[in-house]
């Protein structure tokens, strides 16, 4: 140790420490508080002219220490403004939550030079000393029920750093008072941060509410949810936030919304396609959360992670928590919230994080409920039109029957009948949007595909199709006309109705010649003829290729054609769910000229 070492001995007493603490406790701004800590500590040094210091705070999202301020005198021209994880003595002190006092930096392999005159250095972590963190209980039997436990740990907030021109510039006596000040600062900063985060969350909620009030039934649900996720991630220090939702049939859980500073728009779309799990059969953690309805903070060795996604998106780098989204009225898990940050300086998911995530879940639930209300309103609107039409026609007939000829009376009766037919489907649609069920009988039975599905669905609406100028044809080979399947006729007819409804709504109004609808029935060639395929050819305005993955999403409407046709965005989404329920599928085979949908039904019920 050099002779100058003694000159840096502290010359303070408790009242000096108390004064700094008092100043800090009166401060409500984190950066200002850190300045007080730095200046207060620096003034405690007797040999300030040979001592230079700075203070930084941890950015949990970037996993870096951001330098907030430096000491006022003799400050070198410090070019760096942040310190990365794992670099240098400072980073080590914060990562290990201990004071690092290096009497001779030239002998320390971890030293990173920022100032050429530095001979010795001391770094003191700013942290909350006792905080509760949540983690899954270590358990080798991964398939058993998971439990979480809370442990006591230290939470990193930032770091206070001094460098000296002298070897051995900082004596051990400095450790205790500086540590005391840093822990005190850590506690106060943590409280300020917590209060700011709650305020931020409240502001986000207010913004969503304001947007709801402004847009009423026009709300773009996906945009609201994406905004919510992006804002909460950015402002509440999470680097990833994923929202997954249980589908209406409660069969699968699908990723619907994702944000991370590391994800590109393209990667989010790939992620969404891959992150779909069967609630009943999947071993993925998302399915577990839905089944168990419990919060989990799994470690990186947890075998329930989707390995493909885990590797592709580098999820091993994150500490993550999974929170079930539980609908309070039904007590059912309707989705999951997954949130995390880079595993580095911070290694724990704290109870306060979990509390914050629960509040985000409340916001997500409110947004989901709002979306449901909007969809129901749209479905109700679809019912209002035919109800008004039937009512008007009834009134017209009642008042004018004596002045009408038989032809007109029959026409009005037929109009009312057609509107009632339309109402049957609209009511089923509303029922499905509300309850995921269609209760109209008969529910299931032996159905001839050709006569009871294809021919009937055309004949039911033949008049309207003719009136609108459509030519509707079918092509069914003789040998397939006798095929019967056991299915729910109400559901399959609803699917057909939705396809017809789209074809009529989205007809190409420029060319009248193109108003054709063709239906073909084929035996599948890829599964030994076990399935029947119904091809629905619609020569309408077509589907934009960029929306091919969105058209089956609940409430989705192509922004490019919203101004051309009104609609609810329910039809194809419900058609997909119904086909899945029937053990079949619906696929978009061609976008345009014609648009082709293929319905696949198993010949034999498994």
């Amino acid at each position: 140790m050099g002779s100058k070492a003694n000159s840096l001995q502290p010359i303070f007493d408790n009242s000096q420490l108390q004064k700094i603490m008092k100043e800090m406790i009166c401060c409500s701004d984190v950066d200002d508080l850190l300045k007080i800590l730095l200046n207060g500590s620096w003034h405690l040094m007797s040999d300030k002219q040979h001592c230079y210091g700075w203070v930084g705070k941890l950015n949990r999202v970037t996993n870096k220490i951001e330098i907030i301020c430096t000491t006022p005198t003799h400050a070198p021209n410090l070019e760096v403004n942040e310190i990365a994880y794992g670099k240098g003595i400072t980073a080590q002190a914060l990562a290990e939550r201990i004071v690092k006092n290096i009497p001779d930096v030239s002998k320390d392999p971890n030293y990173v030079e920022y100032w050429s005159k530095t001979k010795s250095e001391i770094a003191i972590p700013i942290m909350v000393e006792k905080v509760r963190a949540v983690q899954n209980v270590s358990d080798d039997k991964r398939t058993k029920e998971k439990k979480t436990e809370t442990i006591e740990c230290r939470k990193p907030i930032g770091v206070l750093n001094f460098e000296s021109e002298n070897i051995g510039g900082f004596r051990e006596e400095l450790h205790e008072p500086l540590m005391l000040l840093c822990i005190f600062a850590g506690e106060v900063i943590d409280k300020i941060n917590r209060s700011l985060m709650l305020e931020t969350l409240h502001q986000i909620e207010k913004n969503i509410q304001k947007r709801d009030d402004n847009q009423k039934n026009n709300i773009d649900y996906n945009a609201v949810m994406n905004d919510l996720v992006r804002q909460t991630a950015k402002k509440l220090s999470f680097d990833i936030i994923h929202v997954s939702e249980v589908d209406r049939g409660r069969k699968n859980i699908n990723l619907t919304c994702a944000y991370s500073s590391q994800y590109s728009t393209q990667s989010i779309e790939i992620f969404k396609k891959l992150a779909r799990y069967s609630i009943q059969d999947s071993h993925d953690i998302q399915a577990y959360i839905v089944r168990d309805g419990k919060i989990e903070v799994p470690d990186k060795q947890d075998t329930r992670f989707n390995k493909e996604l885990y590797d592709k998106f580098g999820h091993d780098r994150y500490i993550r928590a999974f929170i079930p989204i539980i609908n309070p009225s039904s007590n059912l898990v309707v989705g999951t919230l997954e949130a995390g940050f880079l595993n580095g300086f911070d290694k724990h998911m704290y109870e306060s994080d979990i509390d914050l995530l629960k509040r985000i879940v409340d916001l997500i639930l409110k947004t989901m409920e709002r979306h449901r209300t909007v969809l129901i309103n749209k479905a109700i609107h679809d019912i209002r039109s035919p109800v008004s039409a039937v009512r008007s026609n009834c009134s017209f007939l009642y008042n004018r029957v004596e002045s009408l000829d038989n032809k007109m009376i029959r026409k009005k009766a037929k109009d009312m009948f057609n509107n009632c037919e339309s109402l049957r489907y609209s009511i089923a649609q509303l029922e499905y949007a509300l309850t995921s069920e269609i209760t109209r009988i008969p529910k299931s039975g032996n159905v001839n595909i050709f006569t009871e599905i294809i021919v009937k669905s055309i004949e039911e609406r033949r008049e309207r199709l003719n009136k609108d100028g459509f030519v509707c044809q079918y092509q069914v080979p003789e040998e397939l006309r006798s095929i019967n399947i056991n299915t729910d006729i109400a559901k399959i007819m609803q699917v057909m109705h939705n396809l017809f409804d789209n074809a009529i709504k989205y007809r190409n109004k420029i060319s009248r010649d193109s108003w054709n609808i063709n239906i073909e029935m084929r035996e599948s060639t890829i599964d030994n003829g076990e399935s029947i395929e119904i091809y629905f050819y619609d020569y309408g305005i077509g589907i934009n290729k960029k929306n091919k993955d969105l058209i089956f999403d609940l409430g989705f409407r192509d922004p490019d054609i919203i101004h051309l046709v009104n609609g609810s965005g329910l039809g194809l989404s419900i058609a997909r769910d119904l086909m899945l329920e029937l053990g079949g599928s619906i696929e978009l085979i061609a976008y345009k000229d014609p648009t082709i949908f293929m319905l696949k039904l198993l010949k034999f019920t498994r």
Binding site: N218, S385, S395
Partner: protein
């Protein structure tokens, strides 16, 4: 009397048109002409030329906005296109009798219409054909 009916589901207004025509015929009091349009852009073009000869416009609200009346920022789902049409027509013809005919309830829209002495709102699920006839022909 010259009336324009604008509704994308034109079959819904047919019965109102028929009732008006029967009543006018029974009264034999005046010549009644009714034109129907299912697109806002086309109706607007027609009004630009013939607006001064039209007595009443009966206008649906929730309609595809077409090229001119779809306000993406204000109304991304296009639920109030008819109302934007009303505002444009009103600028050009301050005294034209415009009756909004809708299933949509919107307090802001109702307030604006209340302040317009030459407009009224009719609700499709309330107003019956004979009631509209009475409103128009007396």
């Amino acid at each position: 009397m010259n009336i324009i009916f604008i509704d994308d589901e034109i079959e819904c207004v047919e019965v109102y048109k028929e009732d008006l025509e029967i009543a006018a015929n029974e009264k034999n009091s005046e010549l009644l002409n009714i034109w129907t349009f299912n697109k806002l852009d086309e109706a607007y073009k027609y009004l630009e030329v013939n607006g001064n000869n039209i007595d009443i416009v009966i206008l649906d609200i929730m309609m595809p906005g077409g090229a001119n009346f779809y306000k993406k920022d204000l109304d991304p789902m296009g639920l109030k296109s008819g109302f934007y049409f009303y505002q444009e027509v009103r600028k050009q013809y301050p005294n034209l009798d415009i009756r909004l005919f809708t299933n949509v309830t919107d307090s802001e829209m109702e307030r604006l219409i209340q302040d317009d002495p030459n407009s009224k709102i009719y609700y499709k699920d309330v107003l019956l054909p004979f009631e509209l006839t009475k409103e128009i022909l007396g």
